[in-house]
């Protein structure tokens, strides 16, 4: 018996231990780091009308020696990233074809952003995410953005200072804009998939300010005020997989309020004699959505609780008095309500329920929801009554009570 032999002799045991080294290292899937081209960002554009080149994918590959090596004085700096593009009928084909140009095998797990060109977004983005979900090499936690007015390839070509890897810069801007200014949400690929499956989605946009060709040069990176910049701008409303409308300003922020994604922002209130002259820092916000069915019609109530403090004022007000604060709270409530109202109104016009309000009806009245499910976005949602209740409180006035302004 073979097994008995293994157990009998000591020398066999040692031999076995050595033999096992061969197997436990998992040689089949071993890969060396230097054999990879690490992708920091991926862009997808419309390729052509032919099915042969339906998509054009662009990858932004990190140049590791520049990113990690610091500044080498005297020598000519090469760019911190390089982009390659290819077309194909499927994304996977286009990505594999890039191997013709790239120095080594593409490495996907470190993707930080995915950009989609506006032209493609208008035709439909539904099929873009299957490969992301199916391929174990992708991680689905990177945010998705739509490039406003340009192709994704252009956006990935723009060099950025401070953060030499443009994808990292975009990701950073998106995060901080979401956390500090709160106008645009950050939608991860997995969330986009979920939303697209349910119906409509809202995806943040990015804009190129300046000339694309200038942005493509490292000189752009060396200027103090860059002539070509990337800016987070616009909220794309995607309906049935297609880009329908760009939102900006009030309605965009309204979407963020309703989706419970608001973290911090600033709201401007009016002084008695000056418009928009008091800044309120919103520090905490939440939204609670409830749905009811009354007389065979859904009634949705969106309640928003916001908390903030006075952070700037351009007029003399008696901020030490409770009544003044109450007055400001009332104004703040109206301001927030206006934004939310603007968002709801625009989206009802667009027939796009990006908030997933339908699901709340389902939770409340599942049988009713089954009846209206198919015509919800098309017919019911635009006609539905949406009540907005805002509860806003101003907690404090910063380091001073009254302003020096008289």
């Amino acid at each position: 018996m073979i097994m008995k032999i293994f157990l009998l002799h000591k020398s066999y045991k040692i031999f076995l231990c050595i033999l096992s080294i061969l197997f436990i290292s998992g040689c089949w899937d071993s890969n060396e780091l230097q054999d990879f081209s690490i992708i920091s960002g991926i862009g997808i554009d419309k390729g052509g009308d032919d099915p042969e080149n339906r998509f054009r994918t662009t990858v932004q590959i990190i140049n590791p020696s520049i990113v990690s090596g610091g500044q080498q004085a005297g020598s000519v700096q090469s760019s911190p990233v390089t982009t390659y593009s290819e077309t194909g009928s499927t994304l996977k084909e286009a990505l594999r074809k890039i191997s013709n140009e790239a120095p080594a095998e593409l490495f996907f797990p470190h993707i930080q952003i995915m950009l989609i060109g506006e032209e493609l977004a208008k035709e439909g983005i539904d099929e873009l995410f299957d490969v992301v979900e199916r391929d174990p090499k992708f991680r689905v936690l990177f945010p998705v953005l739509i490039v406003k007015g340009h192709t994704a390839e252009d956006a990935l070509k723009v060099s950025t200072s401070l953060r030499p890897i443009p994808s990292a810069k975009i990701e950073g801007s998106l995060q901080s804009s979401k956390e500090i200014w709160g106008e645009y949400p950050s939608t991860r690929a997995d969330q986009a998939i979920m939303k697209l499956g349910e119906g409509s989605a809202a995806i943040t946009g990015i804009e190129i300010n300046g000339d694309v060709e200038k942005g493509n040069q490292t000189a752009n990176m060396q200027e103090i005020s860059q002539s070509t910049k990337l800016e987070i701008k616009g909220l794309a409303i995607i309906r049935e997989g297609k880009l329908e409308k760009w939102l900006e300003g009030d309605p965009a922020r309204g979407v963020v309020w309703v989706n419970n994604e608001m973290e911090e922002t600033v709201m401007n209130l009016d002084c008695p004699e000056k418009k928009d002259a008091i800044a309120i820092d919103i520090g905490r916000a939440e939204s609670i959505i409830k749905a009811k069915v009354k007389k065979d019609k859904p009634v949705i109530t969106i309640r928003i609780n916001a908390e903030g403090s006075v952070s700037e004022t351009h007029c003399s007000m008696e901020l030490d008095k409770d009544e003044t604060i109450k007055e400001l709270e009332k104004q703040l409530r109206n301001e927030i309500e206006e934004e939310v109202q603007a968002a709801i109104k625009t989206l009802q016009e667009e027939k796009s329920d990006v908030f997933g309000l339908g699901e709340y009806i389902n939770i409340e009245e599942k049988n009713y929801w089954k009846k209206i499910k198919d015509k919800w976005e098309e017919e019911i949602f635009p006609e539905s009554k949406v009540n907005i209740e805002v509860h806003a409180t101003i907690r404090r006035t910063g380091m001073k009570v009254k302003s020096y302004i008289k």
Binding site: M3, F23, D29, E133, R139, V140, M194, I363, E364, K366
Partner: protein, 366 residues
């Protein structure tokens, strides 16, 4: 039958990990959509019912495995055939464990490694531990259940803290009524994994205190049922029903969403290890059941000598069971169904009824 003794805690550890094996990683109970957790709990309650059949049989014949008392009850020939069915069933399910495990590794982490390479190493490890005997397997279980517990705690903690847990994904309750829940409970979750515990009828004779069977079995059944129900809810709450239905290994997808402080992320290893540990025990126990069944039926001297041949059969059938993953899953769902109920319910119930009639007649004769 080897001379071995297993204590209550060890048996509990084996049963608990056995029940989690694969079920904790695959999309389990999802036919019931948002109410998967309820379907699993119902399946568990039916599992309690099955236990009482096995338990009554065990009380009649505390020293024999099911292949042994089948012959006592139904007579040598008929009982032998029933025993053979059990052996084949154990082999089949052991095969599925090996295939499940290798499919997970190949489709998630080791995409270029051939299935066969993983299966051979996995089956060899199982053969080794079974060569050492059931006592060693039981002690290994005692060690690994602690590791499994720590992995489970860590995984759950990170998922809950990372903020992807959306309770409203689980609502509304009874979205599609009771029908899908009942059909999932009866057709799927009662067998997988609670009915599969029928393999422990081969191991109960080794228990050192036969009085503790009820306590051990029930606590393992309830705890593992609750764990599975919780895991299914967790997956649905994080992924949503729609994604979970489409995902081959949802728990892996769930843990993939953990991203704490841009630092604690890519925790797939937790799930892969959970799968590895639990499937190892499930596979080992089924293979052990098959092997000692063969020893018992064919009157062999010991089980060591047939381990490698049986391992070879398992590898061969794990490779040839289906040519692709979809076919494999379909086979598991529909192909097994007609075979399952005779094994977990009809045969044991028949054995119980016949033995009760026999005892009754015997008493009358006296």
């Amino acid at each position: 039958m080897e001379k071995a003794k297993v204590n209550g805690i060890q048996l509990f550890a084996m049963m608990f990990m056995f029940n989690l094996g694969t079920a904790v990683v695959v999309s389990y109970g999802i036919e019931a959509k948002k109410d998967a957790w309820l379907a699993i709990l119902l399946g568990m309650s039916l599992g309690v019912g099955l236990f009482f059949i096995y338990y009554r049989l065990f009380c009649h014949y505390p020293k024999l495995p099911i292949t042994g008392y089948a012959r006592k009850i139904l007579g040598n020939y008929l009982g032998w055939i029933v025993g053979l069915f059990y052996v084949l069933y154990f082999l089949q399910i052991a095969t599925r464990q090996v295939r499940d495990f290798s499919e997970l590794l190949v489709s998630s982490t080791m995409t270029e490694t051939p299935l066969l390479a993983i299966q051979i190493s996995f089956v060899l490890v199982i053969c080794y531990v079974l060569y050492q005997g059931v006592e060693v397997l039981a002690r290994t279980a005692e060690v690994f259940i602690i590791i499994l517990f720590l992995l489970g705690m860590a995984g759950n903690f990170f998922i809950l803290v990372s903020g992807d847990f959306e309770l409203h994904n689980l609502r509304p309750f009874l979205e599609n009524g009771w029908k899908p829940i009942l059909s999932t409970a009866v057709l799927e979750s009662v067998h997988f994994p609670f009915g599969e515990m029928v393999v422990f009828t081969m191991l109960l004779p080794y228990l050192n205190k036969s009085g503790s069977v009820k306590k051990v079995w029930m606590s393992a059944l309830l705890l593992s049922g609750l764990t599975l129900s919780w895991t299914a809810s967790l997956n649905i709450a994080v992924l949503g029903v729609d994604v979970m239905e489409r995902t081959t290994f949802p728990t892996l997808a769930t843990i993939g969403k953990v991203n704490l402080l841009e630092f604690i992320q890519r925790l797939d290893a937790i799930v892969v290890f959970t799968m590895l540990i639990t499937v190892f025990f499930k596979g080992s126990l089924f293979m052990y059941g098959a092997v000692i069944g063969i020893v018992d039926l064919f009157k062999l001297k010991n089980h060591q000598q047939i381990l490698l041949p049986v391992g070879g059969i398992i590898i061969f059938s794990a490779m040839t069971i289906a040519t692709n993953f979809s076919g494999y899953m379909a086979e598991g769902k529909e192909g097994l169904r007609p075979l399952v109920f005779p094994i977990i319910l009809y045969f044991p119930a028949l054995l119980l009824i016949v033995s009760m009639i026999r005892n009754h007649l015997k008493q009358k004769m006296n």
